[in-house]
Point group: C2
């Protein structure tokens, strides 16, 4: 038995997060429209509280913790966006949060999480087991573990992205043919597909594609195989947020009925998308957040038609974007 | 007699531009909300076709050229955003466009205008009179001059920004107390106030403030004096798009009845706003486009309440933004 969220769970999550989450815009891009021959809409989760979609699922999950268990607070392990999403959501519930982070995580991400009021426990990636540390903290404090993706309430929370896309596309008179969603463990893409599935008429035919880094394309491989299989992994991807080797159990259960075939992009395509977003779209997007845009720019969806691209996060240092722009400027951005 | 647009002209302009202009989003900023204690909404004209609001007015004005005069095309003088707005709008009407630009205008702006199909006539800022050149072109070709701001149809077109803010604020359940609008000749700010004036109930009390660079604060001075007066000018402002010394006749006629007192910001405040937008808001905004944000960050509007800030343009080289971020990073952006 696998517990999976249904459309009504996404609707309930939307009501819960509404007073706290940013209603991020769906923006049509004239630049991308001219370049690709499609109508292109961008779902800008880079403007979400804490700079990525992760706040949605974290808030929805924490809201469901029974009153009696709240005093123990929450614990999560993450080096990035999930850490900040959990910390921000816990703060709104006035609950203590402990985040287990690798000692070599980027300083800004550690500082950002601390600034949100969370306690930080650093661990050595090579010599310590973060799950064991989190288990110990749960036992000692009575804390609730907030998983990054493999949890129905997290998936329902991320699903509000799909619900909002459906509402805004209908309002803007757009009938979507494809939606491109960055994918790590699959919480966002499966939730988004669920949120879209109960949306406006005409969305029944929308194809929702996961987009992963090459070698971290567990969802693509699992969808092709019909069951969960791991990607090879290997060298680190430039998209540090998308390195889960395999989709979560709950996410895949939804994904296998709701998603179109998965897509994958190279590090070069991700880097180019980051540069393009900055130079031409005026948006700062982290590499993982730009995976859907990378697939679009690489020509992985048919010409013509209407596409929505989820820009899932923007937590990257400005210097990294400046380097990408400098690298690609002469080669590509004049198109 | 001065001909001024009325609210119905803005509504008519909105219908004209709808199939071609981007419906730019009004986005709530959690970051600015926490920093300022206000609800803060950003009207993102940086996503508009050609990267600034100028397309709106140019398209509306060109749409009103009588059929018999269309073959002669259009002519405009501009070194920046107006040039691209006119070129893009003329292209949509399949009308020839000639843009008179200073020979020392930034290469990307010249190239961008040329890429939109316009003919470019370069002139020497110090030795030639651009108005005389434009007059000659009008005579030779029968072209219609498209002024940058001092024209009722241009003002009505820019007014669609206010109309959209009113609609989206109502949809988002926000009652605006202030709207901050970058100002050069006053077409955008007066049009925006006009568009807001006939909007949702509750907007009757909204205060619309022009924001100009110090020493180019002709609107502020004119509003205070009750008649058009010139600002001193002098050293170039970092906001190259906002250097009109005095509001236009038509714009001021509207402004004096519709606007709250004008605001002004220093070059340092503009530069800081550009850096803040990139580092914290994930948005690339040109200095002139960031004037309203600069006034907000400088504490020029009361704490509490709800404000909309128009980010009017994003046409700036990435290097300039990188320099601003590097300069301000250590001093300010950790707030």
């Amino acid at each position: 038995m696998v517990e999976i969220p249904i459309f009504a769970d996404v609707v309930a999550a939307a009501a819960r997060i509404k007073p706290y989450a940013v209603r991020t815009p769906l923006v049509e891009s004239a630049v991308l429209g001219e370049l690709t021959g499609k109508r292109v809409f961008l779902k800008c989760e880079i403007f979400q509280r804490t700079g990525s979609f992760k706040f949605r699922g974290a808030f929805n999950r924490i809201a469901l913790i029974p009153e009696a268990e709240r005093a123990g607070g929450v614990v999560a392990f993450s080096s990035g966006n999930h850490a900040q999403g959990v910390a921000a959501a816990a703060k709104l519930f006035a609950m203590p949060a402990v985040i287990v982070m690798p000692a070599d995580a980027p300083r800004p991400k550690i500082e950002g999480t601390r600034a949100l009021g969370a306690g930080i426990v650093l661990y050595d990636r090579l010599r310590e087991d973060r799950e064991a540390i989190a288990t110990r903290i749960r036992a000692e404090r009575g804390a609730t573990l907030i998983k990054p993706f493999d949890d129905p309430a997290i998936i329902a929370g991320q699903g509000t992205v799909g619900l909002e896309i459906a509402e805004d596309a209908a309002r803007l008179g757009a009938v979507l043919d494809q939606v491109l969603v960055p994918c790590s463990g699959g919480g966002l893409v499966s939730g988004t597909a669920l949120g879209l599935s109960g949306g406006a008429p005409g969305l029944a035919k929308v194809k929702v594609h996961s987009v992963e880094p090459e070698n971290y394309d567990g969802m693509r491989r699992s969808l092709a195989a019909g069951s969960r299989v791991a990607a090879p992994g290997g060298a680190l991807s430039v998209a540090d947020a998308l390195m889960a080797p395999m989709p979560g159990v709950h996410a895949f259960e939804l994904a296998k009925t709701l998603l179109a075939p998965g897509l994958a992009v190279s590090d070069e395509e991700l880097d180019r998308a980051v540069a393009f977003a900055a130079d031409r779209l005026k948006l700062l997007v982290e590499p993982g957040g730009a995976a859907g845009l990378a697939a679009l720019l690489a020509g992985q969806v048919p010409k013509a038609g209407t596409v929505a691209v989820v820009l899932s996060g923007g937590n990257v240092g400005f210097e990294a974007i400046a380097a990408a722009v400098a690298h690609w400027d002469a080669k590509l951005l004049k198109c």
